[in-house]
């Protein structure tokens, strides 16, 4: 048993939690990994020095460190390890926005929504918008290279990370990149740490690129009697222009959302698309009309176009609400597979076949414009057979995505939940390359062991 005394002495009073009741809430993230361990302690760091001291202490004693943001991860990337430390950044919440360089310097514990709000106070915008933006941390966003609904036009987290401070496995804090849109000095280390899921270092500060406030959006809502027409409409829309949002819900999700929100959605529809344009001024309405025509031509049963931002936001919120709505049917295995856009139809129909074959209910929602889907596998933990079939479907969906030239995770990360499938996607040579980098940066394997690799 490792003695925690010197760790407690290194850190501010109250930073180290060890009582069993406090530890429980830090064992799992939203993936609810049943194999989660019980940590030795939780460190709630208040600053970079706390993170450095903790990691240095842990490395000297070969104690695993699991970095944790808001704990809203869906792949088990913040799953506690028996005898390890959970290193929470929840108390590191500073932000400074510089409107001249259009950048924000932010600590990892701030929530995505709080970053957006701080930027908005200066008339600026931080685009990445995971559906969980009200409760996910910006550090976790960087660690998983999180996406969201805006990515079809605005890209993902890595596109907005210009620099960072990161604590390496030996406790050294380094600064890489900075508030410069262009910087070719040395290796692209900033980009390597984005998406590394806490396996290479612990991010203690981010320098984010901001954009001017997003223009007012026009919104198109279309329903379809079959999935093929809906995926044809998706291709028609993205082929004609770059929507600022292009989201998909299947019939199960439509009904689950309608059960809760009573918006008057067409319960008989097989699919619903919510598409938006933020082109400046009158161009948004013009682009919306193009999207209306594309949906009609693809065979939509009903198409609706609104210039009212509140109405558009209501449909967007409905789409964001789809996961909790479907979850009311039963516990979910949440998927995150993506494919190149032309293969989206094959993915969606393939998932339907997987659901049928395994006799499980799978609802598909998707950031359709970039081919990233979230199949929601409803299962019954009390029914072992059902649970086994759900897990089989979970794996088969990833197999299908890989077969279609896609990815097992578009925006949630690999964590522990998907690591068994990563070699199938990347192949042995890329896995070996990954391992070489991991070993070079974390030779004793203390950082988030069991995640990704």
């Amino acid at each position: 048993m490792v003695d925690l005394h010197d760790l407690i002495e290194l850190l501010p009073s109250g930073a180290v939690l060890t009582d069993p009741d406090s530890l429980v809430g830090y064992r799992q993230d939203w993936a609810r990994d049943p194999d989660a361990g019980t940590p030795l302690a939780v460190v709630r760091a208040t600053c970079t020095a706390d993170v450095s001291a903790t990691v240095r202490w842990a490395e000297q004693r070969r104690v695993p460190v699991v970095p944790r943001g808001a704990g809203s991860g869906l792949s088990g990337g913040a799953t506690a390890v028996d005898g390890g430390i959970v290193l929470s950044t929840e108390r590191m919440r500073d932000i400074v926005v510089d409107p001249v360089t259009r950048t924000a310097v932010v600590q990892p514990g701030l929530l995505n929504a709080e970053v957006k709000r701080a930027a908005a106070e200066h008339g600026l915008w931080y685009p990445p918008d995971p559906s969980s933006f009200e409760m996910c941390s910006i550090g976790g966003n960087a660690a998983t290279n999180a996406g969201g609904l805006c990515c079809v036009k605005y890209g993902v987290t890595t596109d907005y990370v210009l620099g960072m401070e990161v604590v390496l496995a030996d406790g050294t804090a380094v600064r890489i990149g900075g508030p410069r849109l262009k910087d070719s000095a040395g290796l692209s280390l900033t980009k390597l740490f984005v998406g590394s899921e806490g396996t290479l270092g612990v991010i203690t500060e981010l320098t984010l690129r901001l954009l001017p406030a997003q223009p007012r959006q026009s919104t198109v809502v279309a329903t379809f009697a079959d999935l093929t027409a809906a995926t044809a409409a998706i291709l028609a829309v993205t082929g004609a222009l770059r929507p600022s949002m292009l989201e998909f819900m299947d019939g199960v999700a439509i009904n689950a959302v309608e059960d809760e929100l009573r918006m008057g959605l067409d319960r008989s529809a097989a699919a619903l698309l919510v598409a938006r344009s933020d082109a400046p001024g009158a161009h948004a309405a013009r682009e919306a009309e193009i999207m209306v025509a594309a949906c009609e031509k693809a065979g939509a049963t009903e198409v609706f176009h609104t210039e009212d931002p509140a109405e558009g936001e209501a449909f967007t919120a409905a789409r964001r609400f789809a996961i909790p709505a479907v979850e009311r049917i039963g516990p979910l295995l949440l998927e995150d597979v993506g494919v190149p856009l032309p293969r989206l139809g094959e993915l969606v129909t393939g998932i339907a076949a997987i659901a049928e074959r395994n006799r499980v209910l799978i609802s598909v929602i998707a950031h359709a414009g970039d081919g990233n889907t979230h199949p929601l596998i409803v299962h019954d933990p009390a029914d072992a057979d059902n649970t086994a079939r759900a897990h089989r479907a979970f794996g088969e969906i990833m197999d299908l995505a890989i077969e279609l030239g896609g990815t097992i995770t578009g925006e949630h990360g690999v964590g522990r939940l998907k690591k068994a499938w990563l070699p199938d996607q990347l192949g042995p040579d890329v896995m070996a390359l990954t391992r070489r980098i991991k070993d070079a940066l974390d030779p004793h394997g203390i950082l988030n062991p069991g995640s990704i690799l």
Copy 2:
């Protein structure tokens, strides 16, 4: 002396050049490093298998390999090493554009301009636009994380690289990333290889993200009687909107360009800005008017606004022509320092002081909107004292950029020319981190030895 016979046998007939006359042209890139070595041979690869075979052969014999695109690099990143192989990708020139996913799969030897043209045939656009776009290769662009004039709004090369095939130091070809806007599976390896200047692997294929064709641009040209007014105008423009281009030339460059092009530029001006907007439809003209007002308010002596694309392109071409124009005064040491935008004024006035102190002529041109400047140091190689002063100024400019929180290279890369200054920018810990990654990926140090590290 290494026996080249088995290398020659591994490769297609004519792929290996060994006669001294052929080798001469492959010793240096545009940095004209006087310490360039003479290679054992030049391999002009025709495909990934050729690259793999060459690198594997070289690794087994510990022969250095210097990857080379079009040889237009300005930092000596493609400087031949005595007894090494120069591995040229100039014959790898395939491209396939997929308008549905808006991506291009391209081999490294294709020129940037050729990528742009292939995309344009599908109504699409590849934004990054180094001034050398007609003669620089897309592989070299990826290796240096090249920028250009559009970056102020559209970012740099890494923002457009979704995937690649890369040959590692042991000759293994791996595929990383792919035509997916979102992919969080595993480490962000694609981004690590972008900007690695051939020190971690040899890029043999790139998957690039494309955008819809750029809308027609409005153009504003403004002249200023002093540098301070010009840098104030730059901040006023970027504070008000996101221009699609915001370029700067000082008085020396204005006169050098005017000597050649006779456009009627104001020879008495201390600075000239060329600013453009590509906002859709009438919004471009509206943004141009905002930029006109910003320049006037900052004290411009003359401001000119045109909606004529040809006229706008003529001013852009004039700016692009500034480097060759200034070069007619004398040979140049070409700088590439960048600073956070609010420090641009200090950088520009500091460079003037460095020029005066060292009694050398320095003309400053800049991608002003992102703080990336190209001070052009004119020197006389026949005059040893002048050359020494020019080199001193070259170093002092980098020192100044670092002092101002900037970078020694915004878009050209470190190569050999700037490597002595890299530790000053990055510090010992980041240098050590860089070295760990280099050693992990290239344990025998055969890939572009002497570049970056």
